[in-house]
Amino acid sequence: MTDRLTTLKTVLWALVGVLASVTVIRFMYGLGAVTDLSDAAPWGLWIGFDVMSGVALAAGGFVLAGIVYIFGLERYRPFVRAAILTALLGYAAVAVGLLYDLGLPWRIWHPMVNWQYHSVLFEVAMCVMLYLTVLFLEFLPVILEHRFFQGRVFQNVMKGLKRISILLVIAGIVLSTLHQSSLGSLFLITPFRLHPLWYSPIIYVLFFISAVGLGLMTVVLESLFSNYFLGHKIHIREISGLGLAAGIVLWVYLALRLGDLAMRGLLGMAFEGTWQSNLFLFEIGVSALIPATLMMFKRIRSHIAGVGVAAAMVVGGMILHRIDVSIIAFARPEGVSYFPTWEEFAVSIGIVAGGILIFLFFVENLRVFEDVEGHPPEPEREPAATTLHPLLPKPLALPKNYSIAFVLGAVLALPFLPLGGVDPVPVPTQEPRTVEAVILDPGLSQPRILGLARAEEGLPEEIRAVFSGEMEASLESGDLPAEMTLDTTRVLMLDGDRDGDLVLFDHDDHAQRLGEEQSCATCHHLNHPLDQNTSCFECHSDMFDGRSVFDHDVHVAELGDSDSCIQCHTGESEVKSYETTTTCNECHQSEIQRKAFVDPPPEHWGDAVGYMDAMHGLCVECHEVKAAQTAGPGPNPEGLDRCMTCHDVDWREDVRKMEPGRQVDVDNDDRMAGSSSSRTPGQ
């Protein structure tokens, strides 16, 4: 037991603690709360690192098993158990990582019962699952060696396992071949998204070969790790042999990868100087070219530092390759970036940390390294000297440092986590605004052409560019007709359908051209009142106004869920329908008055009225005045103050179909005539 090891374990426990906190948030609030994933970047670090790289890193298991059990190279036997254990834990980590990444992780068993042989991912899933089982069976004898399992039953199981062990090894190799390559095949279906320097019709071959090279180098790194932290003997001759083998495999990989690109005439792309080509060159250099070259020299590979550096390069470089394929070189639409959040890193790192801790646990308790005569267990400390409190249960009290590190990690992570979940932003909309515009009046019968007089603050950049850009362009190009005059006016800026596209709407101009006061009804009553989408396009094909006039959900949310019902549906015994609600103006009276169309706000950035308010500005006030005149105590006999008087009962259907003629009917009614004509809408 070394101090190094204690430090390492303390750090690892803290990382697992952080993982624990992130886990809670991840499963409470979903992927969106803790990841930077989006529709444009559906796969991120958890796939690129945990799954793609995790499987590749675990390739040491089947490679070493093959070398020792199939090819009979006995001198590599000391590595084989550790390699299989690493593979087992690696695949377990892949499975755990997948649980975080899957949207519905409790359905991870679905592929097993619903076979889809046409899906690469199905093949990967089945192979990984089977291989995980095989790895477990391969490693089980090591566990059964422990004195705890000396019972007859266990020993019989052990004998049985040993009888089929060569079958397990072969099955492991076949399964590994299949899914190591299939992880590459996953991207065969994305020829348009994966950058050509990484996409290849033989990408599955490349994935397999690189996994073999990477697996060998992982074993090298692992034995250096066990030397550094556990003080195990270094088998430098065997390690250098593994290095040489990896070097040769990497040359094959290089030849295939570059040869394939050359044959398809794409090799030139690598030298175009784009970021992709630079990334490609860097990745090829680090993952294969440099280490493969280094390993060709006996003096370098016979030295721990030499082979260690090469192994680290291959491991880092191949992880980069997997991440390149699944994330970096995988096309996203312009403007969409993906960079993992700290939570994503924390999960990836935490899973690895947990894996290492389990690895160390096995190493300390089982004969994982065959040449080591049982690892000296961690010296038991005196509980009295270290426990926080003697009353604590023993597991918590004993290895105090680790518990504290774990809890500390978990607690320290909390302030940085979105504990209340993340609310998606409502689609940003531009409220109608009055702005100053320049009139470019050609003096013809055409509508006036408008441009923003100045760059308005608060406008999205691209929209500002369009509006003022058009202006400046036409002014600078000198295309303006000589008779064109420059004048400014105040107009409404509308984002009718709330998609960010703005329209400058010159109300004065409309009124003027359509017949002044008589024209109001042309627009405001030609349209369908309360329709969910006011059809501006009936006159203009380029102007839109889609807006939900009465949003029941919003009202419910604003007024407080279940308590809110009776606030509008006041009659307790009545059916809750549109007929039985209170009228809109009972709550909104002041609002309607304030925002009435006839009184545009004077400020530069003031709110302009929406369509509904404009309508109500025209109608409601008169209705109210009239209602007050005709009404005695109790409900108004004419129902003039009720929305339903104008807006028919079935608002979804009938209102939509409500004819403009209805307004005419009301106008003709002499009770309404006076007040109606006295109003002068318009700015």
Binding site: M28, G30, L31, G32, A33, S38, D39, A40, P42, W43, Y69, I70, G72, E74, L102, G103, L104, R107, P111, Q116, H118, S119, V120, L121, F122, E123, E145, K159, K162, I164, S165, I166, L167, V169, I170, I173, V174, T177, L178, S182, S185, L188, I189, T190, F192, R193, F330, P333, E373, V422, P424, V427, D499, N533, S535, F537, S541, D542, F544, D553
Partner: protein, 291 residues
């Protein structure tokens, strides 16, 4: 047999009636977005279709193409995505496990995910399959005030599209988008501008995508037999050699180096060989167990 939609870009005025009809039909609720959700083309988990605005008053409807050979269906490992005989590519939320390979695989980048749900689902246009099986048109088609959307049999729509091109060769680009792209789609476009921006590539090519995957998948049985056989054969040869070497060296002493394995991996191995190996294996392993 196979239903389809023909979208005539030249007729679309961009009123988004279809978008709203779709929202209503599928009860999608108000849009709420996270970074990146709308950046592509306005589609989101609450918007199965949208209108892309292009210069000079060109309005291009974006929606699922319902490919004839859909990449998403081929990619899905649980069969949650299915191409129905009626033409729609539909999604079964009961089967989905949330791997999002369909989002990765789609050549048009259509499927969307409910990133903010604790139990998220994939969302996309399903060609109003529930209406189509009742003999009704999809909601978007029904709502279009300009007849820019046409619903019908794919063959008839293709004929109609070619007729329109023939009638107005100066207006249209001489290509029915979706006729052959990635094996053909059930949503066809007629346009007076190039619609290359609608997919991940300017020119998607005629080959369907699942066959690219199949090139690798069809090798699986071969790999199983080949790799298994190869490993078995190598093991058999190596094992035999080692045993012969051991025998040549000196009787039992050399047995320690023999691979401690059963010979069952190679069917060719003679039964006697296997038994001999097994016995050595056990003796050696039991020796190991002592320490």
């Amino acid at each position: 047999m196979s239903a389809a939609i023909l979208i005539d870009i030249t007729r679309c005025i961009g009123c988004e009636e279809c978008v709203l009809a779709c929202k209503e039909e599928n009860d999608l609720g108000p849009d709420r977005l996270r970074k990146g959700q709308e950046a592509v083309d306005g589609l989101s988990a609450t918007r199965f279709s949208t209108i892309l605005r292009k210069p000079d008053d060109h309005f291009v409807r974006q929606q699922c193409r319902h490919c004839l050979e859909p990449a998403c269906v081929s990619a899905c490992l649980v069969g949650a995505m299915q191409k129905t005989p009626e033409g729609a590519v539909v999604y079964d939320s009961e089967l989905c496990m949330g791997c999002r390979y369909c989002l990765v695989a789609c050549p048009y980048g259509i499927p969307r995910y409910e990133w903010d749900e604790a139990a998220p689902l994939v969302r996309k246009c399903h060609l109003c399959h529930h209406r189509v099986v009742e003999g009704r048109e999809p909601a978007c088609v029904e709502s279009c005030p300009e007849d820019a959307l046409l619903f019908g049999e794919r063959d008839q729509l293709l004929a109609e599209a070619h007729r329109r091109i023939a009638d107005n060769p100066d207006t249209y680009v001489n290509h029915v988008y979706g006729e052959t792209e990635v094996g053909g789609t059930s949503v066809l476009y007629l346009s007076d501008i190039s619609l290359g921006f609608l997919g991940w590539a300017e020119n998607l090519g005629e080959g369907d995508l699942p066959h690219l995957t199949w090139a690798s998948l069809k090798k699986v049985p071969g790999v199983i037999v080949g790799m298994g056989g190869l490993m078995g054969a190598i093991y058999w040869v190596v094992n035999r050699r080692m045993k012969m070497a051991a025998r040549a060296a000196d009787g039992g002493a050399g047995m320690d180096v023999a691979a401690p394995m059963d010979g069952a991996g190679s069917p060719e191995t003679a039964a006697t060989d296997a038994e001999a190996t097994a016995s050595t294996t056990e003796s050696q392993e039991s020796g190991d167990d002592d320490d």
